[in-house]
């Protein structure tokens, strides 16, 4: 990845919305949550939104950290490994009840599966297929507009 700050944020938001949205829709019924589907969708989409909103802050942090790299690139593995701190933060906020719009409690297993699958799907798309429909995206630091 060769992101600019604006590009990182745009890519994050758009991919979470589209790819994240599709994945969440598909895995909703398959998650180990004993709650009606509407509640499952409510919770998972709120988590998705939380990851997006918090993600803006994280991207600023990554951008800052990237400045120490001569190449000013964001290594592929970093994009995957940052799932851990980001996931942890969302989980802690969930447990503390600090995320508005969550109904009931989200079991740990369900959260991990949901978060991991969305993250993996977004990461896979960003590191390959994204270049097919959007030929200017990678030359614009990740900006789509």
């Amino acid at each position: 990845m060769l992101p600019t700050l604006g590009g990182r944020i745009q890519t994050r938001l758009i991919l979470l919305a589209v790819v994240g949205g599709v994945v969440t829709l598909i895995i909703g019924p398959l998650l180990p949550i004993s709650a009606p589907l509407s509640v499952v969708y409510q919770d998972t989409f709120v988590i998705l939104a939380a990851v997006a909103v918090l993600g803006i802050g994280w991207e600023c942090l990554y951008h800052f950290g990237m400045q120490w790299r001569w190449e000013k690139d964001w290594p592929t593995l970093f994009g995957l490994a940052t799932a851990i701190p980001e996931g942890l933060l969302v989980w802690l906020l969930l447990k503390a009840g600090a995320i508005p719009g969550i109904s009931g409690t989200v079991p740990a297993a369900a959260f991990v599966i949901d978060f991991a699958l969305v993250w993996l799907a977004v990461w896979l798309v960003a590191n390959g297929p994204m270049r097919v429909p959007f030929i200017r995206w990678r030359f614009h630091g990740g900006r789509l507009v």
Binding site: L2, W70, K72, D73, P75, G128, R131, V132, F139, G141
Partner: protein
């Protein structure tokens, strides 16, 4: 290149002959058969005039062919630009490629081969920089993983560059891909063989391009092409030697013991296999690394005792840079950088930054990222360390004041920090590079003199962000330039695969704005990628 690539080398690709009745070939092949009366060569009036009229060219007896878009060079730069246009829907009868090459990667393959990157070895280029695929997907790593049925390349691109060297493709894979794409876009149908002599503006709009066709292939000495859009991608004007090496070669007429890594020099490695040799290397870039790697590999493979003295003009001993945010690694003489430029020039921070800079500021930005460098490869590091420990690999910092012959050995008098040192060597290999002034290229010198072209802060062709050659517009017609001749502009990574594609994209988008072709949008991009995947023509 001022010297032609070695014609004796075996053909690396089957040449496709365009069918005589092929619509795509008609517009370009017609000229030799429709010769007009007259001298057929450039007249005084033509040479003097900045702008040509149709009558002037007719009076000279030079046959004219109309073609909406033509590209000069026919190498990788022309290839990726034409590739973009074909994918944007431009048919082959609207494009001509004027070149003295038989296939687009001819010069590139020759240069990589002699500078010790033969087909089985890896070049210095990113996994997603595919000149044969504008999307960069599937990447070379993915293609290699699938082709060789191994996870290793995928694992490498996952953990690069922290826990593994940057993945780079093998030269052979790159050339095979280029050959496939070349056939897919019908490159040979658009190709016109010959040497371009000059480009001049046409009164009324557009340009005249004068081509000297291959001897005997046309009744006149020159052919003229009238085009609305012209693209220049002529590459490096030629080889340049270090002055003291040039002097030595000329004075002693010795082209055997002092060689450039960019010319055929296999005899050095052959000699190394027969006796103890001392080889002096000049330069600290990728070519020096490759030549060194070859010497070290041969040493290990054949049990040789070759000694290597490596002279650096600028000796980098550790991380260097003005502040913590601009520090590049280095050690033992070399500066380390994954690729030819800091990676973010190909789409990230540095690209965005330089795009906004003008004049001096831009010059300074280039200087900051400049300086010869080479990739850090673990295997090379291990070999060099072994050489340093055992004493057969020595590095020095300094410049050569003079060179002389003494009992069959070349003595270089090196000015170092600690004084003058004499170094005796059997061979001196100059790995310092292809840099030469753009005015040494006839076509470019002519553009500077007659067509309003100007120089940028680094002395090369001044181009816009769209790669339009500034100052040389002609009516609705426009001239573009990309590649090595434009280094110093708003985009820093010009003389690279991906850099040429970035330029091609800008040019294609600009041409779309001017109505020459369609803009490649999302839908077209997806359908064209599917055609690429199925090896169907665009």
């Amino acid at each position: 290149m001022t010297d032609q690539p070695d014609r004796a080398q075996p053909e690396t690709v089957q040449r496709r002959r365009p069918a005589a009745d092929d619509a795509g070939a008609v517009a370009v092949a017609a000229t030799p058969h429709g010769a007009a009366p007259g001298s057929g060569d450039l007249t005084d009036e033509l040479l003097r005039s900045d702008q040509w009229t149709d009558e002037m060219v007719r009076a000279a007896g030079i046959p004219v062919t109309d073609i909406p878009f033509l590209t000069i060079g026919g190498g990788i730069g022309s290839f990726v630009t034409v590739d973009y246009l074909r994918i944007a829907g431009v048919s082959t009868d609207r494009i001509a490629v004027l070149s003295n090459l038989d296939f687009a990667w001819q010069t590139y393959e020759y240069l990589t081969r002699v500078s010790q990157i033969p087909r089985p070895e890896r070049i210095r280029s990113d996994s997603a920089s595919r000149p044969d695929n504008i999307w960069g997907f599937p990447s070379y790593a993915l293609a290699e993983a699938v082709g060789e049925r191994t996870f290793a390349p995928l694992w490498q691109v996952l953990i690069e560059p922290i826990w593994a060297d940057y993945y780079t493709p093998k030269a052979g894979r790159v050339f095979a891909g280029l050959e496939r794409e070349s056939q897919r876009i019908s490159w040979s149908q658009m190709l016109v063989k010959g040497q371009v002599r000059m480009v001049r503006k046409r009164q009324g709009g557009g340009y005249f391009v004068i081509l000297t066709p291959m001897a005997g292939s046309a009744p006149t000495k020159r052919l003229a092409y009238r085009a609305e859009f012209v693209h220049l991608a002529v590459g490096y004007p030629g080889l340049r030697f270090l002055p003291e090496l040039q002097e030595f070669r000329t004075a002693h007429q010795d082209f055997h013991h002092v060689v450039s890594a960019y010319e055929e020099h296999e005899h050095v490695y052959e000699a190394a296999r027969t006796k103890h040799l001392v080889v002096m290397l000049r330069g600290g870039g990728i070519v020096a690394s490759r030549v060194l790697a070859r010497l070290m590999d041969d040493r290990a493979k054949y049990g040789l005792s070759t000694e290597i003295v490596h002279l650096f003009r600028t000796y980098i001993s550790s991380s260097h840079g003005p502040n913590a945010w601009n520090r590049r690694k280095g050690a033992h003489g070399f500066a380390y950088q994954g690729f030819n430029y800091p990676k973010s020039v190909w789409g990230g921070q540095l690209k965005a930054r330089v795009r906004r800079l003008e004049g001096d500021d831009r010059g300074k930005a280039y200087k900051l990222m400049g300086g010869t460098n080479t990739p850090y490869r673990r295997r090379w590091q291990a070999q060099m360390q072994e050489g340093r420990d055992a004493g057969w690999y020595r590095t020095m910092a300094g410049t050569v004041e003079q060179m002389r012959l003494d009992q069959g050995k070349i003595i270089s008098v090196v000015k170092t920090q600690t004084g003058m040192v004499e170094v005796a060597a059997d061979f001196v290999v100059d790995c310092t590079g292809l840099e030469a002034d753009i005015a040494e290229h006839r076509v470019l010198a002519d553009l500077l003199e007659h067509s309003g072209a100007a120089r940028n802060p680094l002395g090369r062709l001044d181009v816009e962000r769209t790669f339009e050659l500034r100052g040389s517009g002609s009516g609705p017609g426009v001239m573009y330039a990309s590649g090595a001749t434009t280094l110093g502009g708003y985009f820093p990574g010009v003389d690279t695969f991906l850099g040429l594609q970035v330029a091609a994209q800008e040019i294609a988008d600009d041409l779309a704005r001017r109505g020459f072709c369609r803009r490649i949008g999302t839908f077209r991009s997806i359908t064209q990628w599917l055609r690429w995947a199925r090896d169907q023509q665009p």
